[in-house]
Every structure is written in C-alpha cells, then in structure tokens.
C-alpha cells in the first residue's frame, strides 16, 4: 500500500514538475512526514509516561484536557512555546544556543533509519546499525555542551556525569548489537529484518541473543539517561542537571529528545531482536500495511518496560554505575560474543 501511494505521488509530481526538481520536492515531503512523526511520537510518549507513572503511583494522571487527557501535552507544548527564553550572564552564548539543536537533530535523523515496513523506511544504507550507534553518541555532545556553557556548577556536574556514563555504556550497546550482527551477517537494517523471516533473532540466537538483549536494554536505559541511570539530571541531587538553565522551547527540545531517544533505543531493540515489522510467527505477514502496527506494538511494549524501570527503581551512584558497566556488563558481553560466534560456527541456530 505504501508502495502504491508513493508511486502515485511520484507520478503526480513528475507530471507537474521537471524531472530534476522531483527528488528535491520528495526530500522535503519525506522530511515533513518524519517531522510530523517526530512531533506526534514525542507528544504521545510524554502523555504515555505521565499516565504510566500515575498508574504506578496510585494516581490518575492528566485526564482533563481532551478525551482522557490526550491534548494535555499539546497544551503543555503551547505553554512552552509561549514562554520567555531566559538568557544567562557569562554563559558561552554560542554553545548554549547550539546545544538543544545538537540533541534534537541527532534523534530526528536516527528516526529516519527504522524499517517501519518494507516500504516505509527513510533511508536504508548498508551500515544502518553503525550509523544508529554513531548518531546516538553524538547526542551526548549536545548534553556536554549544554552543561559546560550554562555557567552553572550543577549543570557542569550533570554534564560530566553524562560524559562518563555515555562513554562507558556505548561499549555495551555496540558490543551487544555486534553479537547480533554475527547472526545476521549484515549491518543493513532491511537485511536484518529479512533474516528474521525464519524466526526473530532473539529466538534464532536463543541464549546468547537473550543475554545480548538484556545487556542492550540495560545499556539503552543508561544511554537515554533514565532511572536507574539518571545521574545526569538526578533531580534530588542536581536540581535539573544539565538543562537547569534552559527555559521555554529550548528546554522542550531536550525534553522531547529524551523521549524520542527512548523510542529510538526501543526501536533498535525491536528491529534487531524482535523482527521489526514482522508479525509473530508470520501470521499477518501477507498483509503489508500491518507492518507499522507490529513495529509500533513491539516498540511500545519495550517502552513500557523502560517506564516500569523508571517508576520502580532507585538511582545508582555514579561509581556504582561505572562498576556495573566495566566489571560486569563488559566482560559478560565479550564472553557472549565468543559464545555467539561458536553458535554460528557450529550452526546451532534455531530456525523455524
């Protein structure tokens, strides 16, 4: 269906415009589609987080603006847009203003990589996984810039913690995905999905794949700075951490990016471990337009898992965070890669 629609739009544009102009117009159209997706996802995730939090905390949550509070985040966003952008004396103005864009652009770009359906993927390059990891680590530079330029000691401590945390947990994310790449033999996201037509990778790779998944979800939680790894903004210690000095829409950028990053981590897990747009056991694979539904369903189950973490666990201390990574996750990860290699070598993969 997506293919037909895109073909029709393509033909329609060709009939209107000269052939050289068509790709540029299409690029803009795709960008608009992804921006819309970004905004809707961000707003929906904020609402979802608040409702899930309320559910965990014996509360009701926002339920007054619109049906069951669906318009609450839109109202909040409008409020943030209309708020004053408070400037700071002695701040590094250039970095201070640049930081939010760094954070938001990387997460927006990463969104374009996911195979929501065989015909709904922004760009499918042969180093997809690699690019995703690279993009997710650029985001932290934005956080470092924000903390450094704010001229605030709390922000600075938050940013330094963020640097330490990301450098450490990048390793785990990379290595756990590398484990899965051993199974697929490709870094291209569409091919990774193709391989999973014989069963999701978490089933194909069974034990090592499951270990890799657990490590990935732990490291992913750390990467997105969520509890129990929310050192960066540790509310009870640092006030608001790196974004203490940001107000209005600049703050909203950080806030949105945080939620989109959570979506990105869960979407990576969905793509690599749970077969992206493939339905469970291929029950509806013939109906292509259900692809995005399955993709979103799986991603939101994982997002719920991460929200569950957040509203249940206390926060780790910064040295315990590093101990967990360097003394436990990293060695386990290295052994796991060897295990997976043996699995692939001896052909012990389960295929359906």
């Amino acid at each position: 269906m997506f293919l037909e629609i895109t073909q029709q739009i393509h033909q329609w544009l060709l009939s209107l415009l000269p052939e050289t102009a068509v790709p540029y117009v299409e690029m803009v159209l795709i960008a608009v589609v992804y921006l819309a997706l970004f905004a809707v996802l961000g707003l929906f995730l904020v609402l979802l987080e608040r409702r899930v939090a309320a559910w965990f905390q014996l509360r009701i949550g926002p339920n007054r603006v619109g049906f069951q509070g669906v318009l609450q985040t839109i109202a909040d966003a409008l409020k943030l847009v209309s708020k004053e952008l408070v400037g700071i004396k002695k701040a590094d103005k250039f970095l201070y203003n640049l930081a939010p864009y760094f954070v938001i652009i990387t997460s927006l770009t990463a969104l374009g990589l996911f195979p929501f359906s065989p015909y709904f993927q922004g760009f499918d390059i042969n180093i997809g996984i690699f690019l995703l990891i690279a993009l997710s680590s650029i985001g932290v530079i934005g956080i470092l810039m924000a903390g450094w330029s704010s001229n605030n000691k709390y922000s600075l401590i938050g940013a330094m913690r963020s640097g330490v945390q990301t450098i450490s947990y990048e390793l785990s994310i990379g290595l756990s995905l590398l484990t899965m790449v051993l199974l697929t033999g490709s870094l291209q996201l569409s091919e990774i999905v193709e391989v999973q037509k014989n069963g999701w990778l978490i089933l194909q790779g069974h034990i090592p794949a499951f270990i890799a998944f657990v490590i990935f979800i732990i490291a992913g939680t750390a990467e997105t700075n969520r509890t129990p790894f929310d050192m960066v903004e540790a509310e009870s210690e640092l006030g608001a951490g790196f974004h203490t000095e940001y107000s209005g829409m600049k703050f909203a950028y950080f806030f949105l990016a945080e939620f989109i990053n959570m979506f990105i981590i869960c979407a990576i897990a969905t793509t690599v471990f749970f077969g992206a747009w493939l339905s469970p056991f291929g029950i509806t694979d013939s109906i292509v337009w259900l692809g995005p539904f399955w993709f979103m369903a799986k991603t939101f189950v994982l997002i719920f898992l991460m929200m569950w973490f957040r509203w249940t666990f206390p926060r780790l201390r910064v040295d315990q965070l590093l101990t967990l990574e360097w003394k436990y996750l990293l060695p386990i990860n290295l052994v796991n890669i060897v295990l997976m290699a043996v699995l692939v070598w001896q052909n012990l993969i389960i295929q359906f």
Binding site: A53, F56, Q57, L58, R59, K153, Y154, I157, R161, T227, P228, D230, A234, E235, S236, E237, L238, G239, W311, T312, F313, P314, R315, L316, R317, V318, D319, Q320
Partner: protein
C-alpha cells in the same frame, strides 16, 4: 639521564551552595559543600532561613499559648511536641491527669510517629531516585490525617493536647477507624519492604554508607532513630516513660551497624512497634475526664522544670524557668534535629554527592525543628 615528566594536571576544590532552594534539603536549609569533583570534602550547614524565635515568643505567652507554637517546630510530630509542653506544665503544677487522657495522648503520639515515618519513607525513596515511594507513603499517611481531622479538626498542626488534658474528647468513630487503619497498614507495610528495602540498588546505596559509631553518636548528642541505628539505646519512651507508655510492652528498635541502612531499618521497625503499642491500648481506653479543670491563667511555681519526650526524630526536651508569673522567664527546647544535623559533616565527608543526599534523608531533617 633523561627524565620525562608528565604535565601536571591541577585540580581544584570548589564549593557549591546546596539550598536554600534545593529539592534534597527538605525546606530552607543551606549546605555549603566543598567538593573535589564528586567527592565531598566539607559540609557546612548554614541555618537561620526559617528562624522565627519561637523560644523568645514563648517568654511573653501564657502556657496555653505556648502549646500552639510548638506545632510549628517539628510539624511532622506536632502532637508529641504539644504533649511535651503539656507534660512539663503538668509536672510543675503536680497535676495528675486521668488514665483516659494518658492513653489517648499515647495513641495519638504513636499515630503521629507512624505518619511522620510514612512521610519520611516516601521522601527517602525520592532522595535516592525512586519517585513512586512518595505516593505510597502518602496513601497511608492520609488515613492517619483523616483520623486526626475527625478527632480535633486539624490534620497537621493539631493543638490537641492542652495543659490539663485534651482539647476535645475523642470522636465516637475514633476507635473503629484506628483499628481499620492498623489492619490496613499491616498489609501495606510489607509493601514498603518489597518496593524499596529489598531493592538491590537501594541496598547498594545504603549499606556501609554514612557510618556513625556508637561513641560518636553519643558525643554528637544524636537521638532517635539516628542514635539507635548506631546501637545507642536512647529511646525516651523506654528509659523515662511518660503518659501511658509505662503500661505497654514494646521493644526498643536497636541496630548496631550505624550505617544509613541501619537508620532506615530502625524507622521501619519503629512503625511496627508503634502499631503494637496502639493495639495494646486501643481496645480499652479507660473512662474518665478528658480534661481537668485548671485555672484560666496558669501560673507555674517558681523553679526550673524539664521534661523530655521521644518525637519521631528523637529526644525533644522542654526546659522552663519560671518566676511564678503567667509566662516562663526562659524557655528552651532541646530539639532532636539540630544535634542530629551537627553530625552530618562527620559522616558524609569522603562520600559522593549522591551519598550526602541519601545520608541526609536517613537523618530525617525537618528544618523548622532545627531553626525554631
């Protein structure tokens, strides 16, 4: 011989103001921290942001009026504060109150202790990053506040105890509702353990952090759960029983580890003990007067009077010097918060910023109690 010297990297200690507006300082406490990276070098509490000179005000108030001021000290154990002043005045007048008054005062005091610990537990979780605990703590605290509201009309600043008895008799529903609460809380308190106490991350944050030896606890004047977490047996209810506390049997919650986790556990144990005390008293509240007739203007005999009680935070002492007039010549509160805060620097130096926040939560600071 060639020697290569690495370029010297200089690191500096810097200071940070934690508070007076900071989520972890529970009010308007200002801590001046000297830190080296993340490691705490020195903690200097700076007080006075909420000083209302309560002790000075007491010198021009009548004894009935003083009771009302004590609500505003440690507002989480307001009833116990009221009781402390009432007991001092009654002792000075050598007024024997009826058993009914004693029993009701003790039940209200223990309910206050549970409600205070509920709030502390919620905030404790928040300080270590688990926000959900706050709402669990408040769920159970609300029920106690409802009982208070029904009994005396106030939920926080109670003014229920007055010199010579109680402001009102208990509400007809009181016994029933307290029993309902005990049944409810017995099922909910294990939930606290499941949610927070047994959590691995929480234990990692608590065990072995903020160590306070028994000797230090005594020399810093620590009292309440802070002292008892270090093995210092200092429960006033046990050693100098007041009101109806000599009629009940309970064990003093005492742990010897002296770390943050011990202080945490002591408070959880105290909630169980308080429930047991209430259970022993609630079924047979004796008949009798709920208020003895006193003079409209109470004049204490000339002399010095001291009475101490156990609030949710520790030992509260009331010292009155009377010259025989309607107001005290001098009144001094020995508040548990101030002496407990004084050991903060001692137990947090060398830890991380996160440890400071967690340790401060286990000391259970109420700033108006420190500043008065």
């Amino acid at each position: 011989m060639l020697t290569t010297t690495a370029p010297e990297i200089k690191s500096e200690e810097y200071f940070i103001n934690m508070g007076p507006q900071h989520p972890a300082t529970h009010g308007v406490l200002r801590l001046v921290l000297t830190i080296d990276g993340e490691i705490i070098k020195k903690v200097e509490p700076d007080l006075g942001y909420i000083h209302r000179s309560i002790e000075k005000m007491c010198e021009s108030d009548s004894y009935q009026q003083i009771v009302h001021l004590t609500d505003r000290m440690d507002y989480l154990s307001s009833h116990i504060n009221n009781e402390a002043v009432c007991l001092t005045v009654e002792n000075a007048l050598q007024l024997e109150v009826t058993d009914r008054i004693n029993v009701i005062r003790t039940i209200m005091g223990e309910l206050t202790r549970i409600s205070s610990h509920c709030l502390w537990w919620g905030v404790m979780g928040m300080d270590v990053g688990a926000l959900t605990t706050y709402f669990y703590g408040f769920r159970d605290r609300e029920l106690i506040n409802d009982i208070f509201e029904e009994t005396c009309g106030a939920r926080l600043t109670m003014n229920y105890a007055i010199p010579g008895g109680l402001m009102y008799d208990i509400h007809p529903n009181f016994v029933k509702r307290v029993k309902e609460f005990i049944v409810h809380f017995k099922t909910k308190l294990p939930e606290y353990d499941r949610l927070l106490t047994d959590n691995v991350i929480f234990q990692k944050r608590m065990v072995g952090v903020g160590l306070l030896s028994k000797e230090d606890a005594i020399s810093f004047g620590a009292s309440g759960p802070v002292g008892r977490g270090s093995g210092y047996s200092c429960d006033v209810r046990k050693h100098h029983p007041y009101s109806a506390l000599d009629k009940v049997s309970f064990t003093e919650s005492l742990l010897t580890a002296g770390d943050s986790f011990a202080r945490y556990k002591v408070r959880i144990m105290e909630m169980w003990e308080s429930m047991s005390i209430i259970e022993q008293l609630i079924d047979n509240i004796p008949e009798g007067d709920f208020r003895l007739t006193t003079n409209a203007v109470i004049k204490l005999p000339k002399g010095e009077f001291y009475q101490k009680v156990e609030t949710a935070r520790g030992e509260l002492g009331v010292f009155i010097i009377s010259t025989g007039t309607k107001s005290p010549y001098r009144l001094k509160f020995r508040s548990p918060g101030l002496s407990n805060l004084s050991l903060l620097n001692h137990i947090t130096v060398g830890g991380k910023i996160a440890d400071l926040v967690a340790t401060m939560a286990t000391i259970d600071i109420v700033v108006p109690d420190i500043d008065r």
